[in-house]
């Protein structure tokens, strides 16, 4: 078939189909557009109100009706009831760790902390994880150069130590907890994640641990890449864990690997054909990945582009969410069960529905995750 014949058949068929289409009247489309416009206005108005009251972006510290105070100590809370009329009020909540080391629950519309789960515990980032039932929050704390995973009921209560380690990630069925441990030669009970001057190569010492929450038994896997592990994410089926690691040494060799009980498979070549690296990635509900893809130059490397994208499990680009800031790290990536995205750019929390440009909700955070909806 010649190109001209191919084109003629294609056009003829498309014309046939177009003639059979019965589109809605234009006023129906305009009403739909107006609805979107009003919704966007409500969102931006509420956001402006939250930021204004919260004091220039530190809205997380301004507490609502629960009455507790965050680490920032800003006053002037906004009644939550006044904000609940926005269409985005159905958004799931967010659990976050503040730069002051507190674990808080944020209203995803206003960015204001509605509750302080654990005040001033020296919680560390960039991962906080919530059980699928929404009952328990897992986070990491540092005490005397030892890192612990702790849990606290979302309904309130005293935190309890689960194990040593960092970067907690609860499995989709809620029965297992994956985290990272960096044991020194004295054994797995001592952890020195983030402490300087302890010698040795951290690249060879990171371990991914999967703990059965009922029995307390643990499986230990060698690190999926020769670099510090920076984030963990369970696949929707619970059969694999996506391990973000890097940078390696002073270079920018971040990597992303899928770890299951038997194999550790790189998502793609590191770097890929565009000489980019996957700085961090998490699973989306459909099995694809939400990643920060970074391109860089030089040794030690400087970032030349950072792109937040949806890619397939093999690294094929599906959709670009946005371009990030070259001078900031993009961490704490997370996707809700409905596909809503969040991430931190430096200490700023950004939200997106995946199709619209992300917007900054609030500041002053080192970790964040969606609550189950």
């Amino acid at each position: 078939m010649r190109d001209s014949e191919f084109a003629a058949r294609l056009r003829s068929g498309a014309d046939e189909l177009a003639a059979a289409v019965n589109p809605p009247p234009p006023d129906a489309i305009r009403r739909r557009g107006d609805h979107r416009r009003r919704r966007a206005a409500v969102m931006s108005g509420v956001l402006a109100l939250a930021i204004g009251v919260g004091g220039g972006g530190a809205a997380y510290a301004s507490l609502g009706q629960a009455g507790a105070r965050g680490s920032g100590g800003h006053s002037g809370s906004v009644p939550l009831g006044a904000l609940a009329s926005g269409s985005a009020a159905a958004l799931p909540g967010i659990v976050a760790v503040t730069t002051g080391g507190a674990v808080v629950v944020l209203n995803a519309v206003t960015g204001i902390a509605t509750r302080v789960l654990v005040p001033q515990v020296d919680a560390i980032g960039d991962e906080v994880s919530i059980s699928p039932s929404g009952a328990t929050v897992y986070f990491a704390v540092k005490r005397d150069c030892v890192d612990y995973i702790e849990s606290v009921p979302l309904s309130g209560g005293a935190p309890a130590v689960v194990s040593t380690g960092v970067l907690p990630s609860v499995s989709p069925d809620g029965t297992k907890l994956a985290f990272v441990r960096e044991p020194v030669s004295g054994g797995p009970s001592t952890v020195r994640y983030g402490c300087s001057g302890t010698g040795g190569s951290p690249a060879s010492q990171f371990q991914v641990v999967v703990r059965d929450l009922a029995s307390g038994t643990e499986k230990v896997y060698p690190a999926a890449a020769a670099a510090p592990v920076s984030h963990l994410s369970w696949s929707p089926s619970g059969s694999a864990i996506l391990v973000s690691a890097g940078p390696a040494g002073q270079n920018t060799g971040w990597s992303l690997s899928v770890l299951n009980a038997i194999t550790s498979v790189p998502v793609t070549g590191q770097p890929d054909a565009a000489e980019s690296y996957y700085r961090e990635g998490v699973y989306l509900p459909d099995g694809n990945l939400f990643v920060d893809r970074v391109c860089c130059t030089g040794v030690p490397g400087s970032v030349t582009s950072t792109l937040l994208q949806e890619v397939s499990a093999t690294g094929r680009l599906i959709h670009q969410v946005t371009e990030g800031f070259k001078d900031k790290d993009h961490t704490s990536l997370d996707a809700s069960s409905g596909g809503l995205l969040l991430y931190l750019s430096g200490h700023d929390l950004y939200l997106s529905d995946g199709t619209h440009a992300p917007y900054k909700l609030t500041s002053g955070l080192i970790a964040a995750a969606w609550l189950p909806s």
Binding site: M1, R2, D3, S4, F6, A7, R9, L10, R11, S12, G13, A14, D15, E16, L17, A18, A19, A20, V21, P23, P24, P26, D27, I29, R30, R32, G33, D34, R36, R37, A40, L284, D286, N288, E310, I318, H319, G339, D353, G354, T355
Partner: protein, 163 residues
């Protein structure tokens, strides 16, 4: 200031054509209709700007295509499309030749399919496709060439390029 009359005229004059083009890109009439309607709603949302663009139809087509390739939107759209139109079965009444082409198009890569539809159906030049898709001219040429080669066995044909 958004002028509803100019939007209505634009919508009425182009919506069927765009559904036809999106159908060739997605292979699903219901999905094409939903994505195109969503794109027009977004166009009206910012009609004061979009109406000033040189080719608003290209803007709507690009947005509709982006909506269609987002897998999250795809899932939501499919559910909505099923509610509105029932299960797929939207090839009824179309010529077997066209159905065969659309079926074959679904088997080539997204980039190749988009380039082929924009070139052979919409009638854009390689340079115009590059501008609309954000790809390099060489990439578009390669997609067109490899796409047609990939389609040939699927359509049980040899490849004959026009001189």
């Amino acid at each position: 200031m958004r002028d509803p009359r100019s939007f209505d005229a634009f919508y009425t004059g182009s919506v069927r054509r765009l559904v036809g083009q999106l159908h060739a890109m997605t292979g699903s009439r219901a999905e094409a209709e939903d994505c195109v309607q969503e794109a027009y709603a977004r166009a009206w949302q910012r009609w004061d700007k979009v109406s000033g663009y040189g080719d608003p139809e290209a803007w709507v087509r690009t947005v509709a295509y982006r909506v269609s390739i987002s897998s999250w939107r795809k899932t939501a759209n499919m559910r909505a499309a099923h509610r509105r139109h029932g299960a797929p079965g939207d090839s009824t009444g179309l010529s077997p030749d066209y159905v065969a082409i659309v079926t074959a198009l679904r088997k080539v890569s997204d980039g190749q399919r988009q380039a082929i539809v924009l070139h052979h159906l919409v009638g854009l030049s390689v340079e115009e496709i590059a501008k609309e898709t954000g790809a390099a001219v060489g990439t578009v040429k390669a997609r067109l060439s490899r796409g047609r080669q990939a389609l040939a066995p699927l359509l049980d044909e040899g490849v004959h390029c026009d001189a």
